[in-house]
Structures are given as structure tokens and as C-alpha cells.
């Protein structure tokens, strides 16, 4: 008989445990996450799950910047302490991660988010809790628009990437008919929004608009439809694996380029390798927001920094996506002064001007009216088996834009 008493007793015990686990701890200093010798920064990203390729590689780049800052003496006597959480690219988990960072770890600011949907799901929490948030690599426009005092990014948003592609196409002689092959997800849609808007202006006509599924292993249908439409140029808004499938099948069925990709396929050598060799990536161009290809002189300093702190990481384009945001955070922390408060930090962020962005092509400019710190990109292609920027034949956007 007595044994059943365990049920209500355990219920009470469970709730008491919940209460104890959840009891709000008083912050150690006047400002959350700041002590006499540390500044606590939260970080989140897909450290597990099917898209963890955008987790550690991106976060490690940002962590390298923070570690280098600490090794150089820190910021106004304080070292940056980073706490990482996993969001598995899932909105429910990203909210949990952010709530934990704010409620349990009492971070001063958060630098994270590589998946657009999962990152957007945290936006209202950051704003409600008044925690400064620097987006790591997610590109969905509505994460950083409309402008909010607490949300910033230094990764070019999807719409600016799309607009850049169309600007490049308009610079090509005798190009009137445009074919498109694209994914349908929030990442591709953001780019397509500006591509469609830019293509509505006179001079260019969309003659085919094909959807390629995520994880597709065959693009025959899309290629044949495009071929029948006889486009002068083809835009492919896909991830690298599917882009390679498309280029492989385009070559197989003699669909001629030029092919213009987004900054999702910036690593053209990797794309060519996946597509079956350099021949498959002939006449392929892609936007790029990093200063140069991996291994180029423009990336030497950033690559050395990454290798110093993460010698086991293979430098790849995504390794550098989080660095520019880290430089913006470090710069603003420094300018916020020794009496660090969130208000001072936000004021400093909003006055960022012409800040070198490390491996990114841009200079970071943030104002109270514009929290998208980097919009400038280049256009890359492959020549003689090497990735080259088209600076000599095509004018990229002004890096200070």
C-alpha cells in the first residue's frame, strides 16, 4: 500500500527539482556577463545533425578571432569567454540554446546562428531580453530587417547576393534570355526575391524557371527544360552538392553556360571536383564575400590565424564566414570602454565605420539606420584550374558599401 505513495511524492520532488534547477541566479556583476576580468559571449550553431558542416567550421573561425584577442591581452583588461551551444539547425532547439545562454549562462552578448530559419526563431528572444546579437552566417533578410537595436550582421543578406548576380548579368554583352534553376527553401527564396525583382526591369527575360530539390542526385529534367528554352545565361541558386549535380548533367546534355551561382558555391574548385572535374565548371561564376579563394594571398593572414588555434580544421570558405562578425564584436567591445555596459556596446556597434573585416571582402559599416554591416561582394570564376576574381574585367561593388 505504501509503495504507491511514491507517485505524488515523486511529483512534488520533481517539481521541487525543477524549481531549484530554474531558480534565477543573481548576475555576478552590474552588467550581465561582465566581470572584472571576463566578458561572456554566447555562441550557437548546428554542432550536430545533418547540417553540422555549417557548425564547428564556421564557429571555429570566430573563436580563433576571440582567442587571438585574448592572447593579445584581451579587451580593457578582460578576456572573452565563449560558451557554445548546439541548435542542430532546428528552430525549437535554437530557441532552447539561446534561452539557456541568456537565463543560465548570463551572457553579455550572443554571436551565432548559421541556419536562417533557426536563427530567425531566436530574434524575438534576443529583442525581448535586450541581448546584443551578432548573426554568425545566416543570410535571411528578415533576421536583420527591420532594423532593431539589438540585432546585427556582417554577412551579406540573401537579397544583396541576388541583386549582385543580376547586376553581373546585366554587365554581360548580348545577354537577354535568362534561365534559372533553384531550390525552394528560405535561403534560396531570399536570393530569388531580389533576383526576380531585378529581372523585372527591362532588358532581361526569364525563359525557364526550374526547381531542383534539396539532396537531388539527378537534374536531367531541369537541364533539358533549360536547353529547350535556349537561355543566354543560367542562374543556379543551389547548395554545392546539388549545384555540382546540375553542372554535371548540363555538361552531359550540352547545355551551354555561362552559369552564375550564389555565394553558396563560392568554393568553385570544390564545386568542379564534385561535378566531375574542371571541365564541368567551365564558364561558371559565383559571387563571393570573402576577399579571396582559400590559399590565396588575400586569405593568408586569416588562414594562419585559423590554423594557429585549430590546426586540425581544414581551411575552407565557410571557415571564414564567422570572422567578420567577431572582428565587429571585438572592435565594439574595445570602443565601449572599460565601464562595459550593453548600452555602450550597442552604441559602439552602431558607430562602426570602415572596419577591416578580416577575410571578408567588405569594410564593415554599421549605423543606427543600417545594421547589415557588409553588402559588398566580388565575382569569381575558374581560369587555368585556379579561382580568380573578376576585378580586371568587371567592377565589383565598392568594398566600403
Amino acid at each position: 500500500m505504501k509503495r504507491y505513495r511514491i507517485l505524488p511524492t515523486s511529483a512534488l520532488a520533481l517539481c521541487a527539482a525543477l524549481a531549484l534547477m530554474g531558480a534565477r541566479a543573481a548576475p555576478a556583476a552590474a552588467e550581465e556577463g561582465v566581470t572584472a576580468d571576463t566578458i561572456r559571449v554566447g555562441m550557437f550553431g548546428p554542432l550536430t545533425g545533418p547540417v553540422s558542416i555549417y557548425g564547428y567550421p564556421i564557429n571555429d573561425g570566430a573563436l580563433a578571432v576571440y582567442k587571438a584577442t585574448n592572447d593579445a591581452g584581451g579587451i580593457n583588461g578582460r578576456k572573452i569567454e565563449v560558451i557554445q551551444e548546439d541548435d542542430a539547425c532546428d528552430p525549437a532547439k535554437s530557441r532552447a540554446a539561446v534561452k539557456k545562454l541568456i537565463s543560465r549562462d548570463h551572457v553579455f552578448a550572443i554571436h551565432g546562428g548559421s541556419c536562417s530559419g533557426a536563427t530567425f526563431a531566436t530574434r524575438d528572444t534576443m529583442i525581448d531580453e535586450e541581448v546584443p546579437f551578432m548573426v554568425m552566417a545566416a543570410t535571411l533578410d528578415k533576421i536583420s530587417l527591420p532594423v532593431n537595436r539589438y540585432v546585427y550582421t556582417t554577412t551579406p543578406p540573401g537579397t544583396s547576393d541576388g541583386a549582385e548576380i543580376v547586376r553581373f548579368i546585366r554587365s554581360m554583352p548580348n545577354v537577354k534570355r535568362v534561365g534559372i534553376v533553384r531550390h525552394v527553401d528560405e535561403w534560396a527564396n531570399a536570393k530569388m526575391e531580389s533576383i526576380n525583382a531585378s529581372l523585372e526591369q527591362p532588358g532581361l527575360t526569364v525563359v525557364a524557371n526550374e526547381v531542383l530539390d534539396r539532396n537531388a542526385t539527378d537534374a536531367t529534367t531541369q537541364v533539358l527544360h533549360l536547353k529547350a528554352a535556349k537561355p543566354d545565361v543560367v542562374i543556379f541558386v543551389t547548395y554545392p552538392a546539388e549545384g555540382a549535380v546540375f553542372l554535371r548533367d548540363a555538361r552531359k546534355y550540352d547545355l551551354a553556360g555561362p552559369f552564375i551561382g550564389t555565394n553558396g558555391v563560392t568554393d568553385l574548385l570544390d564545386l568542379a571536383q564534385r561535378a566531375g572535374g574542371l571541365n564541368a565548371a567551365t564558364d561558371v561564376y559565383a559571387t563571393a564575400f570573402v576577399a579571396g579563394p582559400v590559399g590565396s594571398p588575400a586569405m593568408a593572414a586569416s588562414t594562419a590565424l585559423l590554423k594557429k588555434y585549430y590546426p586540425d580544421d581544414r581551411p575552407q570558405s565557410v571557415s571564414f564566414y564567422g570572422m567578420s562578425g567577431a572582428y565587429a564584436v571585438v572592435d565594439a567591445l574595445r570602443r565601449a570602454g572599460p565601464n562595459l555596459t550593453r548600452k555602450a556596446f550597442l552604441d559602439a556597434l552602431e558607430s562602426t565605420k570602415n572596419l577591416p573585416a578580416g577575410p571578408a571582402f567588405c569594410k564593415i559599416n554599421i549605423t543606427p539606420e543600417n545594421h547589415q554591416g557588409c553588402l559588398a561582394q566580388q565575382m569569381w570564376t575558374l581560369r587555368d584550374g585556379k579561382i580568380v576574381a573578376l576585378g580586371e574585367t568587371w567592377s565589383p561593388t565598392n568594398p566600403t558599401n
Binding site: M1, R3, Y4, R5, I6, L7, P8, A11, L12, L14, C15, A16, L18, A19, M21, G22, A23, R24, L47, T48, G49, Q84, E85, D86, D90, P91, A92, K93, R95, A96, A97, K99, K100, I102, S103, R104, G117, F120, A121, D124, T125, D128, E129, L140, K142, V184, D185, E186, A188, N189
Partner: protein, 326 residues
């Protein structure tokens, strides 16, 4: 507890009061996790109707949850309907569509039914992604916090005050249904459709009912999920979500309402407990699932009932009184 009826009756109230008291000191993170647990209790109960009690091997539960979530979010955000109306409608819409999924179940069983309902689920996700004009596609939909008597129910604790009573009501409703002749009809068609039919049970009607009821729970769970997250995308209701639902039911224990509760608690909180061992998170999670399924074929409730920690669940009202009369 069978011998102490007052203790049994008191237990739910003790639990609810304890949860309410605990919510006063929980931080936002823990409160959010508790909200998710309660939502997955609803979803687990819904799937248990179908998979556990009625033995229908259907795979559309996550998609039906998505329908509920999108109904609640779209009706409030785009149509401007009150959340208090949109929430029950999210259950109703899911139930109507879920009843449609019962049609193949009239002719198919086991793996064939599983395949057809899986295709049905994929179709729903495809519609959520591609019907941009209505669902906003992969851009996702926001759901703003609702107002109650002029007070905006914003934040995790206010969400808890909405989720808790709904969960309690749906748990109570599930028990009433399962203790009625309807619940026994679910069991009958699971055991043998021919025998069920020969006992006067309309198999077609019972299947339609259990699919609709299960979908109603999935829909309400989805509506509350949209409220708890504030933003939903179609990808949230794919195979990963479905795997979670099945795991809740199988790990907690099929044929048991307690099983849905235990499964939801374990599987929602386990990834959070494993946050500090991120490198091993997926391995430990998988190992725990495998061990529980191998060692406890009836789920966690199996040994808990065997050792008297949980009371028996019998599908009849007042069965304890009838048992005492002998």
C-alpha cells in the same frame, strides 16, 4: 494507490499545483522546456491512440502537427482571428484532414498503410513549402502572443498558463475516451478486425474516429508548438519530428497514457541534459533509445507498473469499484 482512492484522485491536482508553484521560480529556459514537454505529451497521447491503442501503423502525425501549427499561425497572423478561436480550429482542421488519411486504412494495413501515410505526409509538407500565397513557403510564419482580457500573454511563463490547462484537459479527455466503449473498440480493431466486426463494431467508423482523434491532438499540439516557438517553418514537421513522435510513444510505452507523458519528459529533456557533452550527444541519445527498447519492450511504463510505481490502466470506467465488488 488502488487501495487509496483519495490518493489517486488527489495526485493530478498535486502535480498541477506543484507545476504551477515551480513555474514561479523557473527561468525562461526551463519554462520553455517544460512547455515543450507538455506539448509533446499532447502529441504523444494523440499518436498513442492511433499506434498503441488502435494498432494503425500510420506516419502522418508530424505533418498533421504541422497543419495544426500552420492553421493557428496563419489564422492569427494573416486572417487576424483570435488565437483562442484559432487553437481549437487548428485541432479541427487537422482532424478533418486526418480523417481523410483513414481512407487508405480501410483497405491497407501495416507496411502498406505506413507507406501511403508517409507519402500523404510528404504531400502535406510539399504543400506547406510550395503554396507560397497561403503558407508563405519556406519563409515561415510568425505567431504573435495572444491577448487575454487585454493582457498580452507574452513570454514562456504566460505560454505555460495556456499550455498547461490544455494539456490537462486533453489528458482527461483521452482517459474518458479510452475508458468508454470507444476505447475498447480501438483495442478490438487492433487485435482482430474480423472479431471486432462480428461483435458489432463498425470498423470503418472506428478507424475514421481514431485517425481524426489522433489528428486533433496533433493539431492542437501543433498550434501550441507554434505559440511556444513564435515562428514555424515547414522543415520542422518532417521526418525528424516524426521520429521524435514515434520515439515518445515507443519509449514511453504503447497502450498507456502514462507512457506518452514519460516518453515526452524523457525525450524532450534528454537532449538538454546532454548539451554539456555535445560531441557524444547523438551517440548517447541513440544508445539510450536502443537500450530502453531492448531492455523494456513495453516501454518505460512496463517496469514502472510491474514494480508498483505506476498504477494499472484498465479501459473501463469505475473498474476499481467493479473489481472490489468482485
Amino acid at each position: 494507490m488502488e487501495r487509496l482512492p483519495w490518493l489517486r484522485r488527489l495526485f493530478p491536482f498535486v502535480l498541477i499545483l506543484a507545476l504551477l508553484a515551480a513555474s514561479q521560480v523557473m527561468d525562461n529556459y526551463l519554462q520553455y522546456i517544460v512547455n515543450l514537454v507538455l506539448i509533446y505529451v499532447i502529441i504523444g497521447i494523440g499518436l498513442n491512440f492511433l499506434l498503441g491503442f488502435a494498432g494503425q501503423f500510420a506516419f502522418a502525425h508530424a505533418a498533421l502537427m504541422g497543419i495544426g501549427a500552420y492553421t493557428a499561425a496563419l489564422l492569427t497572423t494573416r486572417v487576424g482571428l483570435s488565437f483562442w478561436l484559432a487553437l481549437p480550429l487548428s485541432g479541427v482542421v487537422a482532424a478533418v484532414i486526418g480523417a481523410g488519411a483513414a481512407l487508405p486504412a480501410m483497405r491497407m494495413r501495416r507496411v502498406y498503410l505506413a507507406l501511403v501515410t508517409l507519402a500523404f505526409a510528404q504531400l502535406i509538407i510539399w504543400v506547406l513549402i510550395n503554396w507560397n500565397a497561403v503558407t508563405l513557403g519556406t519563409d515561415g510564419v510568425d505567431l504573435r502572443a495572444p491577448y487575454l482580457f487585454g493582457w498580452r500573454m507574452r513570454g514562456d511563463r504566460n505560454t505555460f498558463y495556456i499550455v498547461l490547462p490544455v494539456t490537462v484537459f486533453l489528458y482527461w479527455l483521452a482517459r474518458r475516451v479510452l475508458e468508454s466503449h470507444v476505447g475498447r473498440a480501438f483495442i478490438a480493431i487492433r487485435e482482430n478486425e474480423i472479431v471486432a466486426r462480428s461483435n458489432g463494431i463498425s470498423v470503418a467508423w472506428t478507424k475514421t474516429l481514431v485517425f481524426a482523434l489522433s489528428a486533433f491532438y496533433a493539431g492542437i499540439g501543433g498550434g501550441l508548438y507554434a505559440l511556444a516557438l513564435g515562428f514555424i517553418v515547414p522543415d520542422s514537421f518532417g521526418l525528424g519530428q516524426l521520429t521524435l513522435h514515434f520515439s515518445i510513444v515507443v519509449l514511453g510505452g504503447m497502450l498507456s497514457l502514462y507512457g506518452a507523458v514519460i516518453g515526452a519528459v524523457v525525450l524532450t529533456t534528454l537532449p538538454e541534459f546532454l548539451r554539456d557533452v555535445q560531441a557524444l550527444q547523438e551517440i548517447i541519445y541513440g544508445l539510450v533509445l536502443m537500450v530502453v527498447i531492448l531492455v523494456m519492450p513495453q516501454g518505460i511504463v512496463g517496469p514502472l507498473k510491474r514494480f508498483g510505481i505506476l498504477p494499472r490502466e484498465v479501459l473501463a470506467r469505475n473498474w476499481r469499484r467493479l473489481e472490489r465488488r468482485g
